[in-house]
């Protein structure tokens, strides 16, 4: 179903037309990069998305409060959040949701290093922050690369203190050992993966002056954190703090056709879903939903993951707002009539490691959004398989809207695999299909996507939302 001609139309400007100096980045690229630069964590994504949604006329509601929402009518725009880490933007259709929802769902978490509750330790001549992987990482990627600290601490009295510490404040963090020339890839205690192992990031290396009862280096770290954020060691125990790459998103390639950034799995699809939602002004026939979830990289569990209560609550609130029955059966019935695109990035052919890909069926960067009928590895284990009917409807809608796309598999059958939130959505009775931007270097601190795929993905979402 891959249409090279259509992809070329959207993806490629003739190189001969390239200006002597690299052309200024197009507006889409700037908007996209600015969302990624702000959305360093799930809660920062929700925060940024809410701000943009408010500007586009979305009313903000807490999903856990059944009385927060008054009555709804077609055309109404509502944003639902829960615990600041999951979000649904809903636009009520003229069918008053009788045909179910049209949901585009993406996850807003990404692999990174998470600060431990016992945050500060000692290693050799330095005080270190103790961190562990969140999601699947290659350990050596995160050593020897500047990281910034971002998140929030919940301090005594229930106050939440946002924490940002990075190069702009004159401090980056590094997990490099202070001695030894050994390769970091070889030094990783558990080989390539080793994600579960503790990572120690240098927090301070100049001993504090004067006499202190405690370790002077630990004292220095705590003093500086207290001075800047009024957070003490007790506050760090109840914090959600992440170390993420300090490098901002960058254009990649002499043609600026690609974008490199951390967290594009899956904030590429999240940002595109958000932009597509904000850029679709039409009053829809169908009720459209942009659904953003946390915790996909660690199994979709918890209050803000795709397996949580949030989506049924949103459904209940919408039914109630429309003055319809909103009991458990009504919620199930509405979701069973719904369709969803599970928007997650897909592996793209890497020219340096071609042997792990199935050349005929691999996703290609720049060839349009990737549709995956079945995911998982080793006999589709842990994955999901979409229905032929959902495939057929979706491909027809995209072709009708002249959106380029490609149908691909994750990699060679026995080399590994991956899964998405599709199965979690299907467990609600929703008809689901996986679609997403192809990316290179997935799960690395610098993932690469093609702008042409991202704009085509936005067009695909709009086609899905607006189709009859």
């Amino acid at each position: 179903m891959f249409t090279a001609a259509a992809a070329a139309q959207i993806a490629w400007t003739p190189i001969a037309a390239a200006a002597p100096k690299p052309a200024p980045a197009p507006p889409f690229a700037d908007r996209y990069k600015s969302i990624l630069a702000r959305a360093l964590t799930p809660s920062r994504f929700v925060h940024a998305a809410l701000e943009l949604a408010r500007g586009a006329g979305f009313r903000a509601v807490d999903a856990s409060d059944p009385h927060a929402l008054g009555s709804l009518s077609p055309g109404d725009r509502v944003s639902f959040t829960y615990r600041g880490n999951t979000l649904a933007l809903v636009v009520i259709g003229t069918d008053a949701a009788r045909d179910g929802f049209r949901i585009v769902a993406a996850h807003i978490d990404a692999p990174h290093l998470r600060l431990e509750a016992a945050a500060i330790g000692r290693s050799g001549d330095a005080a270190v922050f103790r961190a562990r992987a969140y999601g699947g990482i290659k350990r050596f990627h995160w050593l020897g690369r500047p990281l910034q600290l971002v998140g929030e601490a919940h301090i005594r009295g229930g106050r939440i203190v946002p924490i940002d510490l990075g190069p702009r404040d004159g401090a980056a963090f590094f997990a490099t050992p202070l001695h030894g020339a050994q390769s970091l890839a070889a030094a990783a205690p558990q080989g390539l993966h080793g994600g579960g192992a503790l990572v120690e990031l240098i927090a301070a290396s100049i001993p504090a002056q004067g006499r202190t009862a405690d370790d002077p280096l630990r004292t220095r770290v705590l003093t500086l954190l207290y001075k800047k954020f009024q957070v003490d060691e007790e506050g760090l125990r109840s914090a959600r703090l992440s170390f993420v790459p300090a490098e901002p998103p960058r254009d990649v390639g002499l043609d600026r056709a690609l974008v490199g950034a951390h967290g594009q799995d899956d904030r590429a699809c999240s940002a595109v879903t958000l932009l597509a939602m904000l850029d679709t002004p039409e009053r829809p026939k169908h009720t459209r939903v942009a659904y953003f979830v946390d915790r996909e990289e660690i199994g979709s569990t918890g209050t803000t993951g795709a397996a949580g209560r949030f989506l049924p609550w949103v459904t209940r609130a919408v039914l109630r707002g429309l003055g319809r029955p909103h009991g458990a059966d009504a919620i199930r019935a509405l979701l069973a009539r719904s369709e969803a695109l599970s928007a997650d990035v897909q592996s793209a052919m890497n020219p340096l490691f071609p042997t792990v890909f199935d050349r005929r069926n691999a996703g290609r960067l720049g060839a349009g959004p990737v549709i995956t009928k079945s995911s998982g590895g080793f006999g589709k284990a842990g994955g999901y398989e979409a229905s032929a009917e959902m495939m057929s409807r979706t491909l027809r809608r995209l072709s009708g809207a002249k959106v380029p796309f490609q149908v691909s598999t994750f990699g060679r059958v026995d080399e590994g695999g991956g899964a998405t939130i599709a199965a979690e959505l299907a467990a609600r009775g929703i008809d689901v299909l996986d679609i997403g931007a192809p990316v290179l270097s997935m799960h690395s601190p610098l993932e690469i996507a093609a702008y042409s795929d991202l704009t085509a993905l936005a067009a695909a979402f709009q086609a899905f939302w607006l189709a009859d």
Partner: protein, 353 residues
């Protein structure tokens, strides 16, 4: 040359010697300092542009010992120097924050178990993509080289310039302070250049005329290959001019070679005690000087060959002096500010000799 005079000599745009004349004439011996100033990087091969699986790529080979996996999935800048008779075309893409960068894409974790289980990546594989896979270009039959030259713009470059120019890829990263106290510095190329910078800035600052003449060499010779035109030839030539052919002058001279030989960050400058060239009398003299000037130092038994042996074969007793560097050969190498300040104190004391 009057006492206190400052002189310099350049060679082939790559190497520099700066001299401070002492109160005593050079025949009483000079103090020589050797600073290599090249850094590990990726150099483009002569026919670098190729396409594979639709991607345009640049074929590279490493210059110096690099920690290959660390060059994956990290932003790289392209620097080119193309001679054009008396002039040259010089090109930098990726250093400004608004510039695009080049990246060598790593394999995703999900499919890496077998493919990278034994070795993550070979140095031969370290080829960045320089654009999106371009079906349009391939339909038109343009080669990867033509695409590259077109994307570089109307600078009048052609395929021959890829053969005879110097095309290098270095990390597109600014120096950063590390930790809440900024006690460490992460930057590209620190193995050699950091000490060269510290010594240079101490040397050019105001100070009383020293007893002996001091000569600092900053050498852009190929890494680990002192014997070259911009290395040994240049040093020999400058020393010949200063010392003539007087064996006594050479015998009275000393040399310090700035080669990293290990050590622990944050514990001061590093003296290498392992080589035959590290004669006990040289070591004693430096240890006495460091004690007087209160320079924090550490002694290591480094075993990698450095340029010290080559300098010694020119005559003067040579010893390796350095600061500890964590992660040599990685895109970002790390040093401790404490060691930089120790080195500054050491060089101030040395330059007063």
């Amino acid at each position: 040359v009057p006492p206190g005079a400052r002189l310099h000599a350049r060679f082939r745009g790559k190497s520099l010697a700066i001299v401070r004349a002492g109160r005593l004439p050079p025949r009483e011996g000079v103090h020589i300092y050797i600073f290599p100033i090249d850094a590990p990087h990726l150099a483009l091969k002569a026919r670098p542009a190729y396409s594979k699986e639709g991607f345009p790529l640049l074929d590279t080979r490493p210059h110096g010992a690099i920690d290959a996996p660390q060059w994956l999935s990290t932003p790289l800048a392209l620097h080119a120097h193309v001679p054009r008779g008396e002039r040259s075309i010089d090109l930098v893409i990726g250093e400004a924050s608004s510039d695009p960068v080049l990246v060598i894409p790593d394999l995703l974790l999900h499919l890496a178990g077998r493919a990278q289980g034994r070795r993550v990546v070979s140095s031969e594989q370290l080829d960045p993509i320089f654009g999106a896979p371009s079906m349009h270009v391939h339909a038109e039959g343009a080669s990867a080289t033509e695409s590259m030259l077109k994307l570089l713009g109307a600078r009048g470059l052609d395929a021959r310039d890829l053969v005879d120019g110097e095309w290098t890829l270095v990390p597109a990263a600014k120096p950063l302070l590390i930790g809440v106290d900024g006690g460490l510095l992460a930057a590209y190329g620190q193995s050699h250049r950091t000490l060269a910078f510290v010594a240079h800035s101490a040397f050019v600052s105001d100070s009383p005329t020293p007893t002996h003449t001091h000569v600092l060499f900053f050498l852009g010779h190929d890494r680990h290959r002192f014997r070259s035109d911009t290395g040994s030839f240049f040093v020999d030539k400058v020393l010949g001019r200063l010392l003539g052919n007087d064996p006594r002058a050479i015998a009275r001279s000393t040399a310090i070679v700035a080669s990293p030989t290990g050590g622990t960050l944050g514990r001061g400058v590093v003296l290498n005690a392992s080589h035959e060239e590290s004669a006990p009398e040289t070591r004693r003299a430096l240890l006495d000087l460091f004690a007087r000037a209160r320079v924090p130092f550490q002694i290591v038994e480094g075993n990698a060959p450095t340029s010290a042996r080559h300098i010694s074969s020119l005559g003067p007793l040579a010893i390796d002096l350095s600061i500890p560097v964590a992660g040599p050969g990685r895109p970002l190498e790390v040093t401790a500010l404490f060691d930089l300040l120790s080195a500054r104190r050491a060089f101030r004391a040395l330059f007063a000799r």
